[in-house]
Symmetry: C2
Subunit: 416 residues, 2 copies
């Protein structure tokens, strides 16, 4: 069994080394890693083929197999991702605030790396390189625990990353992968708070719930998005249909897709048939309450209570009728996973009330929820979307992988 | 048994009400609460007397009894504390960042309340009013779980706070107290992540460890401080003795007191006898390694390995000799609880290296560690000192009790 204590201690030793690297040195490692990923594509693809064979033999779902598969093109994208991270500004060391106290001591609040970051993720092997790139750029050591389905791919990628570190004179422990796929090891990893400063789970709702319930390491909860679009009585209905069509169908398996429509009763008669027409193109199943079915008839199946709490990640949309903005806000605050919520309205009072009172990481007025994404927000890259309120909320870029410390300089101040 | 689910739901309902209050309305409640605490001092003191009697009957330690005791003066200080919080600037709603993306959508990052804050604390009843004041000022509902020793005092104080809320037309559920002192209820409270956004334990190391290990709510770990002062070869030794005397003896039971001295071997011969002389005034017990005992002889008992990891909270100081700055940094990073660490030196290269490489919330050059405190940092008030890296680090004032959300305004942007 993997000796996690030893792995933790080595990562801690690495974190002190990483915080001494200059931005240029860090970017040099990222460039070297990108080069090696390209040069050694064949080696990685061969290991990926082993994972693919195992997946096929185990009857893995075709969608999952596709997420697992690496190709020359995907390897190239992985390498490019590291180069893009290298080009982003280095935020470590940034002075966030500075004050001089009446007794003359100077207090600086300075951005520092977290230290050691743990990441638990599911199948996609490209996360391995991405997560390393983001953590390394911010001066953090990272311990990865990938899905057992991708173990050979992940091992090969980490070996290449470690070789790049070593070639640049940086210790290999800046990134490590837990090879053991036993669940007990994962459980032990979640309790490694002596060495790991923060744990970020990336994956489905089950994985995230398990981490939140069992981890003693501070967790940043990412992920599940039961995102609503509310069509107000004063909505531009063309715009509303465009936004819902986009947020529901542009990509269905993502956390910022729209899962539920909340519609004001005064527009439902005109709006719902129009929307249903649009969604028919993509064969979206509609599940609505009684007042929706009065309008759409057989085209809409009855929604049960449970539907309003579901993240379908599929061509399904639940629909709820409300009689007021307040009722819409209450409904959304009740069922929301606090990810991304949208109002469509031409009435600025209504939109400002919605933006203020809906409790979610990202609240939109007249914009598709699909924009909740680090690249779309201009962060350049992201490690995930946080749905909790501690530390970071919404898309998490480089800054969200840092902490701060207070540095106090003086000349002998003592407390009276 | 207390119905925690119901209490959680009521706190969630309250949080939506609180986020609609204006700064003036919130300050009005704080002023009213201060007034009522003063007016109803007799009522609270009578309940406190019940706790004191129980404490005496149960053989409570005199130091603990003193912490539990309320007096007219302490009640006045409690009321003044709320008035001081009312006078601090309101940070909720502050726009932290604003960007306009190429597609025209405008993104604002806005400071918002956390929502519902849970606080678990030990005996001192003044925490009840303080915690309410800080949470309420930042628009948060708060659920309190105080020590069973102070239950009658806490109930009386919360009743007064709730009456103040009601008189100002705000729902009483903005503050609630878990009356049940059963440990099972505390365990259940720690798993109330469906309703509580963040949990802050305040108390001894045992309480904090228990919360970190058992909570499914995101925790801000506060507290334990095994704080070091390192006396460099280039230290001003007068200053070093003043700082250590202050950090060790000015108040011994606090988390920012100095617990361990790290001394460069080249100054120990001259410095240690000098320091021992100063500390003799306060009868501080010294526990040192062999090289310290060579100098101090019988005045210093041998330190065992365990001593270097202890937060004594007493008139005891451990002493470790090192031969270099690097060794000092390694020793401190090994035993530190990441609270407050100090170097005394006239050499700016040494101090900058120490400030950069020591991993702690607050790192000091030539300043007593006793300044790690919200008031001393100019925050005006604090809820505790965070020793973790997530969200908030070091003294936590009002801003640290808030989160943020992204507000995106547009005119129909959809994702291509």
């Amino acid at each position: 069994m993997t000796d996690l204590t030893q792995m933790g201690q080595r990562a801690v030793a690495a974190k002190y080394e990483l915080q001494r690297l200059t931005p240029r040195e860090k970017n040099g490692v990222l460039a070297r890693a990108a080069k090696l990923l390209t040069d050694r594509t064949e080696e990685i693809l061969a290991e990926n083929a082993r994972d693919m064979r195992n997946g096929e033999e185990n009857g893995m779902h075709p969608g999952m197999l596709d997420r697992l598969r690496l190709t020359g093109q995907r390897m190239e994208a992985m390498a490019q991702g590291l180069l893009q991270i290298a080009e982003l500004p280095d935020c470590v060391g940034e002075v966030l605030e500075r004050t001089v106290r009446p007794n003359g001591m100077e207090i600086e609040k300075v951005r520092v790396p977290m230290g050691v970051i743990g990441i638990i993720y599911e199948s996609r092997p490209n996360v391995t390189a991405d997560a390393f790139g983001l953590c390394f750029k911010t001066g953090n050591a990272v311990i990865l625990k990938g899905g057992s389905d991708a173990i050979y791919s992940n091992l090969a990628i980490v070996r290449v990353l470690q070789d790049a570190l070593e070639e640049c004179g940086v210790c290999r422990d800046a990134v490590s992968l837990i090879e053991d796929t036993d669940r007990k090891v994962t459980a032990e990893f979640m309790r490694l708070n002596q060495y790991v400063d923060v744990l970020i789970p990336r994956g489905g709702a089950g994985l995230i719930r398990s981490v939140v319930e069992n981890s003693t390491i501070p967790v940043i909860e990412t992920g599940t998005g039961n995102c609503h679009v509310y069509v107000d009585r004063d909505a531009d209905l063309e715009m509303a249909a465009d936004i819902i069509f986009n947020a529901k169908t542009q990509r269905i398996g993502v956390c910022n897709a729209c899962e539920s429509l909340v519609v004001h009763s005064s527009v439902r008669e005109f709006f719902l048939p129009k929307l249903a027409g649009r969604l028919r193109e993509k064969q979206v199943e509609l599940r609505g309450d009684e007042r929706v079915r009065e309008i759409l008839g057989e085209e809409c199946v009855p929604a049960c209570e449970e539907d309003y709490g579901r993240e379908y990640l599929d061509y399904i949309l639940s629909i709820k009728t409300v009689d007021s903005l307040e009722e819409a806000i209450d409904h959304i605050n009740r069922y929301s996973t606090k990810h991304s919520e949208c109002i469509v309205t031409k009435n600025p009072e209504a939109s400002e009330k919605f933006l203020r009172e809906v409790d979610a990481a990202c609240v939109y007025a007249n914009v598709s929820t699909r924009f909740t994404d680090g690249f779309e927000f201009g962060f350049g890259a992201e490690i995930g979307i946080s749905t909790q309120k501690l530390h970071a909320r919404g898309p998490m870029g480089l800054r969200e992988l840092t902490s701060y410390k207070y540095i106090i300089r003086g000349n002998g101040q003592i407390r009276p």
